[in-house]
């Protein structure tokens, strides 16, 4: 089998997260592959619709839950639009897992602050569930999640689940103007929400994903809280084709996002040429 050959996966479940964002739960058509398939939080894959092409997303489900993987996508291009037209039982292709991952081993025994904006919750959610499935190995877990409007919040059922848990501190926020009359969360942008929710960087890792502008304005807040650059983790989402370091598309200077990433520390990002 050549390295560009995808596994065939069946869509087991489809969840509409927002008007334009959808989650697929996928299972391997060949159960023997499903049994041996292993990955780590933060890794990504190439998902394909036959006849339309491949598209790159992270694996949004945690490695602690086997038998299936999940991905969340927004219909923007040719492939994601085609994915959106698929129904339960349809076939998609999957190649992966590729790339590096969040260093869970390193985070064990410490507190973690998860910060996500919009669909940026997908890669973070993978780590969140991974951590929650091994909850006793970590100290405090804080989740700060925001979107432009209430309607843009993804994984709503899980947000409720996290809110109900005693061992998770959840802070939800929507941008000013994006709230509804029933909204009980904060009305603030993410940097403000972080400022109000996080009090100390002591013994804590930060995992942050979201639109570039959100990351740009949140990093200074984390720095002010004394998070060292090598304890802040984020992911980059460059355009990719092969995911294998061959097609020459995702590099930022000497760094290949598909192989050296997609997970980077804030310190690593600062050292990169600013071409992403």
């Amino acid at each position: 089998m050549n390295i560009y050959q995808p596994h065939l996966m069946r869509i087991r479940e489809i969840t509409d997260e927002t008007v334009d964002t959808r989650t697929f739960k996928l299972e391997f058509q060949d159960p023997s592959i499903g049994q041996t398939f292993a990955f780590q939080a933060g890794q990504f894959g190439e998902y394909s619709v036959f006849g339309e092409g491949e598209s790159t997303f992270c694996i949004a489900s945690p490695p602690t839950r086997s038998g299936y993987i999940e991905c969340s996508f927004k219909a923007t291009g040719k492939v994601t639009s085609a994915l959106r037209r698929l129904a339960v039982g349809d076939t998609v292709g999957f190649r992966g897992p590729y790339g590096n991952h969040f260093p869970l081993e390193k985070m064990k025994g410490h507190s973690i602050v998860f910060i996500a904006g919009g669909i940026g919750l997908a890669p973070v959610r993978c780590v969140i569930w991974n951590v929650l499935d091994l909850r006793d190995q970590f100290k405090d877990v804080t989740i700060i999640y925001g979107a432009r409007t209430v309607a843009d919040l993804v994984y709503k059922r899980e947000l409720d689940e996290w809110a109900a848990r005693q061992d998770v501190k959840l802070c939800l926020a929507v941008d000013p103007g994006g709230e509804t009359p029933e909204w009980k969360g904060m009305v603030a942008r993410i940097p403000t929400a972080v400022e109000k929710t996080v009090s100390s960087a002591e013994d804590t890792f930060a995992v942050i994903c979201g639109p570039p502008v959100m990351i740009k304005f949140t990093l200074p807040v984390l720095e002010k809280l004394n998070f060292p650059g090598d304890r802040i983790y984020t992911t980059l989402e460059n355009r990719m084709k092969c995911g294998l370091g061959k097609c020459g598309r995702c590099n930022i200077g000497p760094t290949y996002v598909c192989k050296d990433g997609p997970v980077f520390t804030a310190a690593e990002l600062r050292a990169l040429p600013q071409e992403f």
Binding site: N2, I3, Y4, L8, R239, K246, R249, N251, Q274
Partner: protein, 354 residues
């Protein structure tokens, strides 16, 4: 390394035998419409091959990484998707009369194709191929192989190299594959022949060397440190972003993967040549383009060839064949540009050293 003397007749016989055995033989062939032009093409008889006539238009990378190739074919049925794999083993092929720089380019690209994940399609063809180069005699003032650590007599990537010698060739059998190809052909080369072939190599080298001094290893680090240098703003003004350079380059290997329907129910997934010089290469789904103008795209080309690849794989992603310069409709000249960057790097390190 074994060295043999092979007559022109023996070479013709060898090629004839290969063709008779239905081995694919590729050699430089003259373009019928424009006799000044030469292309690497599969031949049907030895007489079609022209050795030492001109630099072939395209490098021979297309025999290893085709312009477009099928990665898989699919059929959409009521029961689901049926995929047909493509074979990763290729039928044997022998390339005669390759330029040494083109052979070296393949060896260079091997490294990225084997980086953690092995590209079996590339290596399937690589392993099925025997490459016989001819010591280069077609250099012009744009060639700069000696500046990137190669040379017209360099056998990197060659299985065998032929050097013209009175009525025939001295064959340097570089690899086992080369030995095997020439098994039972020719006679042992004498000391005189060997020293004459070495002189031919030196003379060929001397023709290229004045074009560009050896590119110093420090360029790689300078490029890395000077990603935001003002020089990048104006370096690519006349570049059209047409990517003809990448198409002809023996080491440019970037590709795109697309699905193409052949009917409503069936089609293929293909790999096609692509290039960092095109404006859509890195565009995100959101519309954001990290390399928004040609300045950034050309910087990527230079950085990849002379800094990224050296830092990752220990060698430059350039064989100095000069095709990019010859084909460029905008008159961008890589050896000149690299030469200018080297002087810039030198002058800046002198300033900072004081």
């Amino acid at each position: 390394m074994t060295r043999k003397f092979i007559t022109q007749q023996e070479l013709a016989l060898l090629v004839g035998n290969l063709l008779a055995a239905h081995t694919r033989v590729i050699a430089p062939v003259r373009d019928e419409e424009d006799p000044r032009q030469v292309d690497y093409k599969p031949i049907e008889s030895f007489s079609q091959a022209v050795f030492g006539a001109a630099i072939p238009r395209r490098s021979m990378k297309e025999f290893f990484l085709p312009i477009t190739e099928v990665l898989l074919s699919y059929k959409l049925t009521h029961e689901g998707v049926k995929i047909t794999e493509v074979p990763t083993q290729a039928p044997p092929q022998v390339i005669f009369g390759a330029l040494p720089c083109d052979a070296a380019g393949l060896k260079t690209v091997d490294k990225v194709m084997n980086w953690d994940y092995r590209d079996e399609l590339w290596f399937g063809r690589r392993e099925a191929s025997t490459i016989v180069t001819f010591l280069c005699s077609v250099m012009d003032h744009t060639c700069f192989c000696t500046a990137v650590g190669l040379g017209p007599e360099d056998s990197k990537g060659s299985d065998a190299m032929l050097i013209p010698y009175e009525g025939g060739y001295i064959a340097q059998l570089v690899t086992e594959r080369g030995e095997k190809l020439f098994e039972g052909v020719g006679t042992a080369a004498t000391e005189i022949m060997i020293s004459a072939s070495e002189d031919t190599g030196k003379a060929a080298r001397a023709k290229v060397e004045p074009n560009l001094p050896a590119i110093p290893g420090e360029l790689s680090e300078w490029l890395k440190q000077n990603f935001n240098h003002p020089v990048w703003k104006t370096i690519a003004l006349r570049c059209h972003g047409c990517s003809a350079c990448a198409a002809l380059c023996p080491t440019c290997h970037c590709f795109d993967i697309t699905d193409e329907h052949t009917s409503a129910e069936a089609g293929t997934r293909r790999r096609n040549w692509d290039s960092c010089q095109t404006s859509t290469f890195t565009v995100h789904a959101s519309g954001h383009n990290p390399r928004a103008s040609q300045s950034e795209r050309f910087r990527q080309r230079i950085q990849h060839k002379f800094s990224v690849y050296p830092s990752r794989f220990g060698e430059m992603l350039c064989t100095g064949c000069g095709r990019c310069s010859r084909v460029c409709p905008g008159g961008m000249d890589l050896p000149t540009i690299v030469g200018e960057l080297v002087s810039l790097a030198k002058s800046e390190s002198e300033v900072s050293g004081q």
